[in-house]
Symmetry: C2
Subunit: 150 residues, 2 copies
């Protein structure tokens, strides 16, 4: 029994090691940058509405909010161990030294984008604006600590 | 009445022109490449299961299929008029000369990825494998005609 548990544990470790080895650092970096690019693409028209550069359009805002909520949970897998280098990246090495804190900030983003999608779909402009502020705060909180910007 | 219609038509044209002008070609190119990168990131583990390189895992397959179905409808907006150049791109200029055909191929992809997500969620491996073949066919059909590969 004990032997089985140990063997199962070793198999699980091996599987994790293989899975981690399967993705090259530069592939992970390229992937996570793509998720951020898609987030940015959807963020811009939302900011334009928030800043009254374009007229408020609940349906369009909700569409973009829905995409953010779908994209946010896909970021974390782009930060595997060892992907602090391998290609040009703005991700600070502090991420991998504080992975629990980084994961916690990612969870904040997932929660806030989910809340934004929900409130935007309901169509209340004032509440959507308020929740957008919180969502942008979740972005900023992580960028301030873990993103290197020249 | 006629004057109103003409003015409304001109306003619509102007709005379209402004919207198109708002996105730089290089931004659209970078965006669409990011969507394809995310599609590829999710495609690889599916192909590994299809080719029996990794064990079949219905839940994981369904997760990736769900993402493809969410990403596919976001591709087309990355091909605005004028984005045939502006940055390195594999998109052939034929796309903008045959936009109706290109849109039709994109619709095929959206339909097949949606069908794949539905069948994968239902958990039938044989049907999922069959629908994956159709989905990959929709990718290939468009790449063969509109993607320049060295």
């Amino acid at each position: 029994m004990r032997k089985t548990v140990v063997l199962a544990g070793m198999a699980a470790l091996l599987a994790t090691a293989i899975a981690a080895a399967a993705v090259k650092p530069e592939t992970a970096i390229h992937y996570r940058q793509s998720v951020y690019t898609m987030i940015g693409w959807n963020f811009v028209p939302m900011v334009d509405m928030i800043k009254n550069k374009t007229p408020w359009d609940s349906a369009t805002f909700a569409k973009h909010a829905d995409r953010l909520a779908f994209l946010a949970p896909q970021l974390l897998e782009g930060f595997p161990e060892g992907s602090d280098k391998g290609a040009e990246t703005e991700a600070k090495p502090e991420i991998w030294k504080n992975m629990d804190d980084f994961k916690s900030k990612m969870s904040d983003l997932v929660r806030e984008t989910k809340a934004l999608a929900d409130v935007a779909r309901a169509g209340d402009e004032a509440k959507t604006r308020e929740q957008f502020r919180k969502t942008a705060g979740a972005c900023k909180s992580c960028h301030d600590k873990y993103r290197s910007e020249e």
